[in-house]
């Protein structure tokens, strides 16, 4: 495995591109439906250097970032509050699990009816979905805080409040980041889906759908590619923050 050194992860990428190019050459599917990788990258380049794709890219980032921000503001304190009392959490567990399992896209028309077709609706639905994921993870992080650590703080003279702020909060951080990473993935999915609904004028979801209807396949692939890169980037960003600030995680 080490034979390729730091280039090991690139093998899969190159392999995929080679297969794609080959499929294009032998025309596995119609060339209109599957353009060459080169055509897609050219569309990415055109779109991201001052084209509509760049605008849509930033709109989606904006919506997803706002959603995860609000979801964190709602989910983290609620998760701590619910998780620090097992009986309280057990009493709301079913409700949380039920809505966590409900596809957020299913409630989109409801939010649409309530808040209209604007930006706010998209952010509300994404916040709704992501905050439940965050809440659930934070609550479990708090509930699974190492008992010995809580006792250690207690015998040293920490009050209940100090045990919460000095120990439980830190104990729950690794799980909180799991929640944030899952939450941001979900928020992105919801935002992109929401951008495909009637009334949308921008965003990567709108871009994908628009180009599909215009049969601009290289552009559509470009938008899909950028959406994928964005999801990967968000995940990576949270991983880096976690590694920097939750350095003890898993040790």
């Amino acid at each position: 495995m080490d034979r390729f050194g730091p280039f090991t992860p690139l093998i899969g990428v190159v392999g995929l591109l080679v297969i794609w190019q080959f499929a294009f050459w032998v025309e596995v599917v119609d060339r209109v439906l599957l353009p060459s990788p080169g055509a897609m990258f050219a569309a990415v380049w055109h779109g991201m250097t001052g084209g509509q794709l760049l605008i849509d890219f930033f709109r989606t980032i904006e919506r997803t970032s706002l959603s995860i921000l609000y979801a964190g503001i709602i989910g983290i304190p609620l998760g701590i509050a619910l998780g620090s009392s097992v009986p309280v959490y057990r009493s709301v567990e079913f409700v949380v699990d039920f809505f966590r399992s409900t596809p957020a896209s299913a409630v989109f028309p409801l939010f649409l009816a309530i808040s209209g077709p604007g930006d706010a609706t998209k952010i509300q639905v994404a916040t709704f979905g992501a905050s439940l994921v965050i809440l659930f993870n934070v609550a479990y992080g708090v509930m699974n805080a190492r008992k010995t650590r809580l006792q250690a703080a207690q015998v040293m003279g920490a009050s209940r409040l100090r045990v919460l702020t000095d120990v439980m909060l830190f104990e729950s951080l690794p799980q909180t980041f799991v929640g944030l990473r899952n939450g941001v993935s979900l928020a992105l999915i919801i935002v992109i889906v929401a951008e495909m609904f009637i009334g949308s004028i921008d965003g990567l979801g709108h871009n994908v759908l628009d180009n599909q209807m215009l049969f601009e396949m290289p552009r559509m692939y470009a938008a899909i590619f950028v959406a994928g890169a964005l999801g990967y980037g968000f995940n990576l960003l949270f991983l880096l923050i976690e590694r920097r600030y939750v350095h003890w995680s898993g040790r």
Partner: protein
């Protein structure tokens, strides 16, 4: 820490007679007085009307068969468990007015991995009215006294097991406790480290004469460190024997093969085996 001199119990030096007719603990002022202690987990009564005096300034090892309630005892005394009945006093004072330290078996889960070692050690000082400037001095004094050469700027997970437990012990000592509880503190360490840590703890005890209550599942270790070995029997726990170890300190590796050590340990083992058989 001259607390509790007010309460010099007239008969404080002796444990109340228990049914086994255990001998009295060593002479001296009682530091921890336990009366009528009862604790049950579900149906199983671990303690039922248990009485004990732990003398001041002595090293008491608690030894007994598995599940007899060795750890339960110090958890009750240190307030980690609520007794069903009974009173526990420290020279007449309640626990909350007593300056005590507690060392857990599982150092990995007892230290705070998000803090550097030095901040771990400093942490309990937050809850005592000690000015910020003096907090650092206290830690420095402790480091000097123990002759610790550890890099305390490291996080606990960057240290070896023994070093982590040493940090954990320092954290319990920085408040200059009058009583130190140790719950099998060396049982997760390898043998070489255990030997080293025993001697560290012995030096510390000789230096401070802090009352120490040491739970162990290793008889050799229990005898090696102790002024008194308290042997417990099982369910509900009673004192099977209370053995005074008169071997002068510092004890060394050579002590372990000495006649007196060997005979004390043999006696303890004999009592232990009897309590296991009877149960």
């Amino acid at each position: 820490m001259a607390a509790g001199d007010t309460e010099r119990m007239a008969e404080g030096a002796s444990a109340k007679p228990v049914s086994t007719g255990a001998p009295s603990p060593a002479t001296g002022e009682a530091h921890i007085t336990i009366r009528g202690l009862s604790k049950a987990f579900g149906e199983a009564a671990i303690y039922d009307g248990f009485d004990l005096d732990i003398p001041r300034g002595r090293f008491v090892s608690v030894f007994g068969p598995n599940g007899c309630g060795k750890s339960t005892l110090i958890n009750l005394v240190a307030g980690l468990l609520e007794p069903d009945a009974g009173t526990i006093r420290f020279g007449g004072k309640r626990l909350r007015d007593t300056n005590f330290g507690y060392v857990f078996q599982n150092y990995r889960e007892a230290l705070f991995p998000w803090m550097r070692s030095i901040d771990n050690i400093r942490y309990p000082l937050k809850f005592r009215n000690i000015p910020r400037s003096e907090r650092s001095e206290r830690v420095e004094r402790l480091v000097d006294r123990l002759g610790v050469t550890l890099d305390l700027a490291k996080y606990p997970y960057q240290l070896s097991g023994g070093q982590q437990q040493l940090v954990s012990i320092m954290r319990s000592l920085v408040i200059e406790p009058e009583v130190l509880f140790l719950d099998e503190p060396f049982s997760a360490l390898d043998y070489e480290m255990t030997l080293f840590m025993r001697d560290q703890l012995q030096a510390l005890f000789m230096d401070t004469r802090t009352t120490m209550v040491f739970v162990s599942h290793d008889l050799e270790e229990a005898v090696y460190l102790a002024d008194d070995v308290m042997l417990l029997s099982r369910g509900p726990a009673e004192i099977a024997d209370y053995v005074t170890v008169g071997i002068p300190r510092p004890r060394t590796a050579a002590t372990i093969s000495q006649g007196e050590f060997v005979s004390v340990k043999a006696h303890c083992l004999d009592v232990f085996q009897r309590t296991v058989r009877d149960a």
